[in-house]
């Protein structure tokens, strides 16, 4: 399973990538939408974990652009906000089960990744 992590908090995504690697998941990370669009041009990913509130472009908009470049890629949203508005918008895109609120326990994330990967 190849996972792309997108969040403007570099320390968050770099640490998370290391922890996922310890669990057998190949994870790459970027901190902005431009880098995310660039990396999927060159590397395939099964799943992207997207921060909802990214600088300059929100996670929902980014998801739509990534889907165009990589049809079949799956998405999980991650947010610190947890607002009803975000929940409704992200649930409509990816399903209510794939909207996670920070901080996320690694076991929960692993379960979600495995679940969405097998769909």
């Amino acid at each position: 399973m190849r996972v792309l992590l997108v969040d403007d908090e570099e320390e968050l995504v770099s640490t998370l990538a290391e922890r996922l690697a310890m669990r057998g998941i190949t994870a790459s990370w970027v901190t902005g939408y431009r880098a995310a669009l660039d990396i999927v041009e060159h590397e395939p990913f099964d799943i992207a974990l997207l921060d909802v509130r990214l600088p300059e472009m929100n996670g929902l908009e980014l998801k739509r652009l990534l889907e165009v470049k990589r049809p079949g890629m799956k998405f999980i949203f991650l947010t610190g906000h947890g607002s009803e508005e975000d929940f409704n918008a992200c649930s409509a895109e990816s399903g209510r089960d794939y909207y996670l609120i920070k901080p996320v326990q690694i076991e929960v994330l692993m379960a979600k990744l495995n679940e969405i990967f097998q769909q």
Binding site: D8, R19, M22, P55, E56, G80, P103, V104, Q105, I106
Partner: protein, 220 residues
């Protein structure tokens, strides 16, 4: 066209709501990083129990990362606390620089989301009498409307100058920013605040500038 015409208190509530939501988001991010670092520590210990040696330098670095995030969260909570208390602050003599720096700190994350950087002009501190919260609220409304039209990679500079019995606060935008449109929106939405501050809003399209003219000595 903004249809909502709230009172100064209603606008203040909206201001509080927006800022506390933003700061809680920042705190969540700091907590999420602490969570991942603590999790990584646990992972490394679990690996050590299976025979992989622990690297003390790595542990030190993780402890330092956690400490830095705790300081970050603490600084956000301090800002939140200062903001919460400022809502009830009476008319006071304050420096424009203090108001600018606090407003810039409050709005920094939302600015970053829109690719905007807020700076404070050097060496132009002016003392004025006002309720700082209301001035900050009006500045926020100006910034919010700038963010709405920002296409990224922009800077806005906050500055002030003396003008006899008044202080002129300037928001200097990048060239081509539609300041007249922003000025109209600020005048409409911020009207209760403008009245409460006995202020005047004007724009200078050639200089990409919005000016807020306020009395130095406030009389209720």
């Amino acid at each position: 066209m903004i249809r909502f015409q709230g009172t100064a208190n209603t606008l203040g509530l909206l201001f509080c709501g927006t800022m506390t939501a933003s700061m809680s988001h920042e705190i969540k991010n700091a907590l999420a990083i602490v969570n991942e670092n603590a999790g990584l520590l646990a992972d490394l210990v679990a690996l050590a129990e299976k025979g992989r040696p622990l690297n003390p330098e790595r542990l030190k670095a993780l402890a330092a990362d956690i400490s830095r995030q705790v300081q970050r969260a603490d600084s956000i909570v301090s800002r939140l606390n200062r903001f919460a208390h400022s809502a009830g602050q009476p008319i006071t003599t304050t420096s424009t620089r203090e108001i600018f720096e606090f407003t810039a700190a409050l709005a920094a994350r939302m600015a970053a989301m829109k690719g905007v950087t807020i700076t404070v002009a050097e060496d132009n501190t002016v003392l004025m009498q006002a309720r700082p919260f209301i001035v900050e609220n009006l500045l926020w409304i100006c910034l919010k409307h700038l963010f709405a039209v920002s296409t990224g990679n922009q800077t806005v500079q906050l500055g002030a100058e003396n003008a006899d019995s008044h202080v002129i606060i300037g928001l200097q935008f990048a060239a081509s920013t539609p300041v007249e449109e922003i000025g109209k929106l600020v005048t409409q939405e911020g009207q209760p605040l403008i009245i409460a501050l006995q202020a005047d809003v004007s724009t200078d399209a050639q200089r990409s500038l919005i000016r807020l003219t306020l009395p130095k000595k406030f009389e209720e």
